[in-house]
Structures are given as structure tokens and as C-alpha cells.
């Protein structure tokens, strides 16, 4: 057989099948990445619709739009869906799409495992969402699943536990794949210290996932055993302790917060140098800061539970260890600003989101340091101040980084440039609305408004109305995001291989859109 014929056969063998079967059976990292991102977008709108219910109910006092029971279900499901359904799959989708291209690999190391990792998720979320239609309704005890509330759930309880297990299995399989890919599939010459920071961030995140997702799985299994098999892990009557759940949950929960922000740090570290037309300032310190943040995430869980009455020594330990996190985080923020310093800056949509990330995530970081102070936390605990804090970190932090990444890599994915005018319109509406939505929550919290309540006294009326208006505008402005993506997929100015003038990295050496199989011959890194 001639080499031309062989090459032709080879191409035919790897052409994607057509129709539904392409997506069900695919082992291609780009297809799977796309599916993760689409799922994440759908879940973002499902979770967002729940947020709209919450904000409509809180628009003014005595609204009574939904029952308190349903309100609690909305608050709980909003958290679960946004964390496990929107933010995490979006980052895994970005990892799937970009990591092989960034390290010069042809695909992920374990492509079939990759397919499984994704296809578990739609079933997990179906299980979780159908609890809303079962007797007793969906989960109502908050995304933290605190006992005894969570154990009092109706028929939805085992569905929820099984859904959490499935999500955990999917995350662990995805993390194993990412680690195996990064450690084994790099192009010759790409040493660890030459890897893009997004890849570094994901390598560290994947280790975090493997270490803590099983902890959550173990915890919810203990809840399952308490409910159905007569154990008393969390039941005081049987000699157990509800506080044990808080320890187990937050041992998972705090690293989970960093699982949602470290990949965002990686994205920002890719975008800022591109639009500053300078290499990242302090590459090594960025890597060490990522690793330090990951390590510290394991020893700070107690700051979520200062008010349960831990020994003073434990309070102090968790307070100081939490405050330590400000050091590596500060290094990262300093390095991003130093990268921009005297750079040849332009402000396309990805850069606007990245700059907004730096400013607004820092606000969330500051309120985090405030919450780390034990005596102050006694005042802020369970108030809207906490809600403001974690929304600054997760929405104007993680979600803004995801949006920045989508705009940044969309030309590489679709082969078209997106509409810059509508991208910028989406950014400005989102940035302004997010601040109208979240900033007043600080004052509501400081004034004493508790979180997770379906109604409130008159004194909180004005600010709640402002917050709700911000929420509706933020929610509606995301429709522009969808429109921009769809129009970019269908048409638009042809994107060059290096879509952004200042972009560096292997992914920009591939044509746009990236071919179905990339780097069948590994590139050499100098």
C-alpha cells in the first residue's frame, strides 16, 4: 500500500461518525470538551432560573410568590447545580479542549474513560433534578447538606445521595485522566516548568479532586447508612454528632472552593500576558503560589464552623492558616498586575473579563480575610455578608474567568471571531449588574439579614429590591452570551491560527478551527 493510500485510510478511519452516535461514542477530547461546556451552559441557566425565583421572592417583604419550603429547595438546588453542574463541568470542558492542545498531545491519555466521565453527568443531574417532583420535594438543607436537616428529606434523599456519588465518580475519573495526560503526554522538550499556567493549575486541581471528592462520597454514604441502616454517625441520640458532618463536609468543601478557582487562576494567567503582549511576570512564583494555595486548602476547613464551639486553639489555628492563604493569592494578583505594567495593553472582551476578575475577585478575597477573623466571623456567620463574599469569589471570580476563557478560545474552537461589540456589551452589562446584585449584600449582612430566609423585616426592603433588580439584569444579560456563542459558531470573520496577536503557546500553532485530531506528530519544544 502506498503511503498516500495509507494516509487516506488513516484519515477516513478517524473521521467522526455522524449524528447522535458521534456524541455518544466519541472519545475525542474536543467533542467531549464541547459536551461538557454545553452541559455547563444548560446547568448555568437551570441554576440561574432558580436564582431568579429566589430574587423574585425576595424582591419585597411578604412577597409569598413561592412557599417557604419551595424557597429552601430553590436555594439548595441553586447551590448544588451551580457548583457541580455549571462551574465544575465548565472547567473540565475547558481542560478537555485545551490541555492536549497546550501540551502538544494528540488526545487525552484515557479517551474512553473520558467519554464515561462525561456521560455519567447528565444522569447524575437528572437524578438530582427529579427530586423536585418527588413526595417531600428536593433537598432543602442547603448545598452543605447539614444534618439533621438533610436526613429529614423525603423520597428525594437517596436520589440526591446517588447523584452526588455519580458526580464524584465522574470528577475523580476526569481528574485521573488529566493527571495521566499531563504527566505522560507532553511534547518532547516540554518540561513541567515550561507548561502553560492553565495546565499547571489543572494538574494541581486534579490532585485536589482526587483527594477530596472521595471524602464527600464517604460522608454522604455515612448519611445514607444513618438513614437506612441504623448507624448513628450524625445522630446525637445514638452517640453520634452532627458536628462530625460539618468537619467531614468542610474537609471536602474548602478544597472544593479552590477546585473552582485554581483553573480560573490558570485562565487569567493565559489571558493577561496575551493582551499585555508580555510574558507572565514571575512564572515560577505563580506555580509555587498555586501549589501553596492547594496545600493550605487542606488545613483551613474549620473557618467555616467557628460558631460551633471548637476549642480556642483550634479557632486560632484555623484563623491563622486561613489568613496565610492571602500570601500566595496576593503573589498571584501582584504578578498579574506586574504583567500588565508597561505592557502594550488592549481591552478585547477576554481581557475585560480578566481585569474585572482581578478587581472583583480581590474584593471577594478581602471579605474572605474578614470572615477568617474569629470574633468578626461570630457576627457575619450565616448572614448575607457570607452570601456576598462567596458570590464575589464564584461569580465575578470563577464564572467571569470561564466567560473570559470562552471568548478567548472561541476563535480556536469555531474558526470564527465572535462579535466584539456584543461581547463587550455582555461584559459591561454583566460587570455592572453583578455589582448591583452582590455589593449591597455586604450591607444587608452587616445589618443582620440572615441567609436562606424566604422573607425579611421591612428594614431590609430597599437594598433587597436593588439586589433583585441587579439579579434580573445579570440573568437577562447572559442571553447575550448565548447569542454571541451561537452566532460565532455559525458565522463570523475567519479566525487566523493565532487569533490574538499577543498569544503564545502550542494551541495557537494549530489552524482555526482546530483539526479533529491535533498533533499526531508531537511538536518539539525548544
Amino acid at each position: 500500500m502506498s503511503s498516500e493510500a495509507l494516509a487516506h485510510d488513516h484519515a477516513a478511519e478517524h473521521a467522526p461518525p455522524r449524528g447522535l452516535m458521534r456524541w455518544i461514542t466519541t472519545t475525542n477530547h474536543k467533542d467531549i470538551g464541547t459536551m461538557y461546556l454545553v452541559l455547563s451552559l444548560i446547568m448555568f441557566f437551570v441554576g440561574g432560573a432558580m436564582a431568579m425565583v429566589i430574587r423574585a421572592q425576595l424582591f419585597r417583604p411578604d412577597m409569598q410568590l413561592v412557599t417557604p419550603l419551595f424557597f429552601n429547595q430553590m436555594a439548595t438546588m441553586h447551590g448544588l447545580i451551580m457548583i457541580f453542574g455549571a462551574v465544575m463541568p465548565a472547567f473540565v470542558g475547558l481542560a478537555n479542549w485545551m490541555i492536549p492542545m497546550m501540551i502538544g498531545a494528540p488526545d487525552m491519555a484515557l479517551p474512553r474513560l473520558n467519554n464515561w466521565s462525561f456521560w455519567i453527568l447528565p444522569f447524575a443531574f437528572t437524578l438530582l433534578l427529579i427530586t423536585l417532583f418527588l413526595p417531600g420535594g428536593g433537598p432543602q438543607g442547603g448545598w452543605t447538606m447539614y444534618v439533621p436537616f438533610n436526613l429529614q428529606l423525603g423520597y428525594g434523599f437517596p436520589f440526591m445521595i446517588f447523584a452526588i456519588h455519580l458526580m464524584g465518580i465522574s470528577s475523580v475519573m476526569g481528574a485521573i485522566n488529566i493527571i495521566a495526560t499531563i504527566l505522560n503526554m507532553r511534547a518532547p522538550g516540554m518540561t513541567l516548568m515550561k507548561m502553560p499556567l492553565f495546565v499547571w493549575a489543572w494538574l494541581i486541581t486534579a490532585y485536589l479532586l482526587i483527594a477530596v471528592m472521595p471524602v464527600l462520597a464517604g460522608g454522604v454514604t455515612m448519611q445514607l447508612l444513618d438513614r437506612y441502616f441504623g448507624t448513628h454517625f450524625f445522630s446525637v441520640a445514638g452517640g453520634g454528632s452532627p458536628i462530625l458532618w460539618e468537619h467531614v463536609f468542610w474537609f471536602f468543601g474548602h478544597p472544593e472552593v479552590y477546585i473552582m478557582i485554581l483553573p480560573a487562576f490558570g485562565i487569567i494567567s493565559e489571558i493577561i500576558p496575551t493582551f499585555s503582549r508580555k510574558p507572565i511576570f514571575g512564572y515560577r512564583s505563580m506555580v509555587y503560589a498555586l501549589a501553596s494555595i492547594a496545600f493550605l486548602s487542606f488545613i483551613v476547613w474549620g473557618h467555616h464552623m467557628f460558631v460551633v464551639g471548637m476549642p480556642v486553639a483550634a479557632d486560632l489555628f484555623f484563623m491563622f492558616s486561613t489568613m496565610l492563604i492571602a500570601v500566595p493569592t496576593g503573589i498571584k494578583i501582584f504578578n498579574w498586575v506586574a504583567t500588565m505594567w508597561k505592557g502594550s495593553l488592549t481591552f478585547e472582551t477576554p481581557m475585560l473579563f480578566a481585569v474585572a476578575f482581578i478587581v472583583l475577585f480581590t474584593i471577594g478575597g478581602f471579605s474572605g480575610v474578614m470572615l477568617a477573623l474569629v470574633p468578626a466571623d461570630f457576627q457575619y456567620n450565616n448572614s448575607y455578608f457570607v452570601v456576598a463574599h462567596f458570590h464575589y469569589v464564584l461569580v465575578t471570580g470563577a464564572v467571569f474567568a470561564i466567560m473570559a476563557a470562552v471568548y478567548y478560545w472561541l476563535p480556536k474552537w469555531t474558526g470564527h471571531m465572535y462579535n466584539e461589540f456584543w461581547g463587550k456589551t455582555h461584559f459591561w452589562l454583566s460587570a455592572i449588574a453583578a455589582n448591583v446584585l452582590y455589593f449591597p449584600m455586604h450591607f444587608l449582612g452587616l445589618a443582620g439579614m440572615p441567609r436562606r430566609i424566604p422573607d425579611y423585616p421591612l428594614q431590609f426592603a430597599n437594598l433587597n429590591m436593588v439586589v433583585s433588580i441587579g439579579g434580573f439584569v445579570f440573568g437577562l444579560s447572559q442571553l447575550i452570551f448565548v447569542a454571541v456563542i451561537f452566532s460565532c459558531v455559525r458565522a463570523g470573520k475567519k479566525a487566523e491560527a493565532r487569533a490574538w496577536e499577543g498569544a503564545r503557546g502550542l494551541e495557537w500553532t494549530l489552524p482555526s478551527p482546530a483539526p479533529y485530531h491535533s498533533f499526531s506528530t508531537p511538536p518539539e519544544i525548544a
Binding site: 494516509a7 460522608g219 454528632s241
Partner: protein
């Protein structure tokens, strides 16, 4: 694509794995054989990480008993 490399991993029939192993062969050409060293390393690493996650699952389950 070099036919010698294409034939190097006949047992891995799945296109993506097949392709992956061919690339593994290109990078580790000197190893040759039916089972490139990198594919073995990937498998061992994946199994090791899965075992670690399983350990974490039972470790915290056990911790529940101990803390009671």
C-alpha cells in the same frame, strides 16, 4: 504515517487509543514492541490514582467510627 509504527500496537483497536499508541511509539520509538512503555506508565498511574481515591473514601468512613 510510517506503516511499521501503525502495525506496532495491533491489540489496541479503538481508533483513539490506536492513534494515541502510535504517537506514543513515535515519541518512544526506541522502545518499540507491542506495549510501549508510556502506555504502561499511563495505566499504572491511573490505577494508582484510582486506588488512592478509594483509600480516601474509606479512610474518612473509618474516621467517622474513630471520632464517635
Amino acid at each position: 504515517m510510517d506503516p511499521a509504527l501503525t502495525g506496532a500496537v495491533p491489540q489496541l483497536l479503538h481508533p483513539a487509543r490506536d492513534r494515541l499508541s502510535r504517537c506514543a511509539n513515535e515519541v518512544h520509538e526506541e522502545n518499540g514492541g507491542d506495549e510501549p512503555r508510556r502506555a504502561r506508565r499511563i495505566r499504572r498511574l491511573a490505577v494508582g490514582l484510582a486506588a488512592f481515591s478509594l483509600l480516601m473514601y474509606f479512610m474518612y468512613y473509618l474516621a467517622g467510627y474513630l471520632v464517635r
